[in-house]
């Protein structure tokens, strides 16, 4: 499983588009919104609230990366070759999931590092914020594994690249205060995990450890549910060969 996991990590890290969207794009957004904040101060875009939001938004690209990797492997018959090896179903699931966790951690470290240069206070509170980014990453990667199991690599680009990153952005409270819209929009946002992921990170970074809950339960609950779905979808496509 380690050999397969290492391969997946290398495939992701060697794709220049992944590097741009994984590391460069969230930092660009952080710079841009911080520049706006410097001229037109908005509470939402203060670095202590903005950085955790963009950290979560950046992690949403893990869905695109993991879905694309899996869908391409399916399309290229690469998985067909590996299915005839002693690897078991759990080796495939873990082999796809695990390399994304250190990559997600590195992305979050880079993002908070950039935020520190823009004025974010470097305190011990960064550590729980970094640790709690991992369940969020797990959620997004599992979502990608589900999509990669049921969609082609072309479909993945539209669904995970355009639709999901936008959904994450609009329904997470990063760009605007959801209570300003209220009503059904806010209820839907509250029911989905994205806003909880952002609030979880904000609470951790602010040192409000009581405020981590119940958001952590929402994120973990969704992560477990989506992982179960991903396992089901992966095994289904494996049997359908």
């Amino acid at each position: 499983m380690l050999a397969f996991s290492k391969r997946n990590g290398l495939e992701i890290m060697r794709d220049p588009l992944n590097l741009f969207f994984g590391a460069g794009f969230p930092i660009l957004l952080l710079l841009l919104l911080s520049a706006i904040q410097a001229h037109i101060p908005v509470a939402l875009f203060e670095i202590g609230r903005l950085a955790p939001g963009i950290a979560v938004f950046g992690l949403s690209f893990m869905t695109l990366f993991s879905a694309t990797l899996l869908a391409r492997d399916r399309g290229r018959a690469f998985l067909q070759r590996l299915y005839a090896t002693p690897l078991l179903a759990r080796d495939f699931i873990l082999g796809y999931l695990l390399p994304f966790l250190p990559i997600s951690a590195a992305q979050t470290v880079l993002l908070y590092g950039a935020a520190a240069l823009l004025g974010l206070r470097v305190t011990v509170r960064l550590l729980p914020a970094l640790a709690l980014a991992l369940p969020v990453a797990w959620l997004f990667v599992s979502l990608g594994l589900f999509c990669g199991s049921v969609l082609t690599d072309k479909q993945v680009g539209g669904v995970c690249g355009a639709l999901l990153t936008n959904l994450t952005a609009w329904l997470s409270g990063v760009w605007f205060d959801l209570s300003l819209v209220g009503g059904a929009f806010q209820k839907i946002a509250d029911f989905l995990p994205f806003v909880h992921a952002v609030e979880l990170e904000r609470a951790a970074l602010a040192g409000d450890y009581a405020g981590i809950f119940p958001h952590l339960w929402w994120v973990l609950g969704y992560a477990l549910f989506v992982t179960a779905l991903a396992i089901y979808a992966f095994l289904r496509q494996m049997r359908r060969l």
């Binding site: 050999a3 290398l10 018959a77 002693p86």
Partner: protein, 240 residues
């Protein structure tokens, strides 16, 4: 012991019977080709023998191990080079080989020795550090076969190994496949009749999921009453 023995092997998809009561035997060290027009059941047969899909009924024994009850042992002794080029594009040639050695549980030093030996034998040294996705079609196929060979399988499945390659690249791969003869059992599927004739010890012709006949290329030509293998194939499939 036979390398492969299928016993009434059958696969049905809803109302379509892809493979229908297949009984065939492949001897140790033989290069055995499965021939047939599209939909004959070649790929489904290979999928069942390699554990990619489960038979609806029947069984197959690979070196005495059942695909129904001992698939783990079967997977430890086989390797597959799929029809489409199945390489990891962002990994180098060497890393692709390391990956296959790794998933079969080889230690680092074992893997290194085997890669050096196989890479040298297959002439992959000159592209060792190139990313697989940047290689030409011929080199990718060569790598694809090397990835199957790295674990020294007892039975190797080659599904359309030269599909879409130019004449030169095809000739090179033929040499490579010929060199494997005797050292392992090779099951080849191909649409190229000249390839089957040039490489095979014996062939099986399938039609609509059923076995029409097996024999050496010479026996098949004699049976069809022609000295051209492709004409013999067409005649027997039409009559069968």
């Amino acid at each position: 012991m036979d390398a492969i023995k299928t016993i009434d092997l059958t696969k049905r998809y809803k109302d379509v019977t892809a493979v229908d009561g297949l009984n065939l035997t492949v001897r140790q060290g033989e290069l055995f080709s499965l021939l047939g027009v599209n939909g004959a059941g070649k790929t489904t047969t290979i999928k069942m023998l390699t554990g990619l899909t489960r038979p609806t009924s029947g069984d197959a024994l690979l070196n005495g191990k059942s695909i129904l009850t001992d698939m783990a042992a079967v997977k430890a002794m086989i390797a597959v080079s799929p029809q489409e080029t199945a390489v990891a594009p962002n990994l180098t040639v060497w890393e692709n080989l390391e990956l296959m050695a790794g998933v079969h549980g080889f230690s680092k030093s074992e893997a290194k020795d085997k890669i050096a030996e196989l890479g040298g034998r297959l002439g992959l040294g000159e592209v060792a550090d190139k990313r697989a996705g940047k290689l030409s079609g011929g080199w990718q196929r060569r790598l694809s076969i090397a990835m199957a060979l790295i674990t020294e399988p007892k039975i190797l499945f080659l599904d359309e190994p030269t599909l879409g390659l130019d004449v030169l690249a095809r000739g090179e791969l033929w040499e490579l496949i010929r060199a494997l003869k005797g050292s392992m059992t090779v099951i080849l599927t191909t649409h190229y009749m000249e390839e089957a004739e040039a490489l095979s010890d014996r062939v099986a012709i399938l039609k609509s999921g059923r076995l029409l006949l097996t024999g050496t290329p010479a026996e098949i030509k004699t049976r069809a009453g022609t000295d051209k293998f492709d004409q013999a194939f067409v005649k027997l499939v039409r009559e069968g």
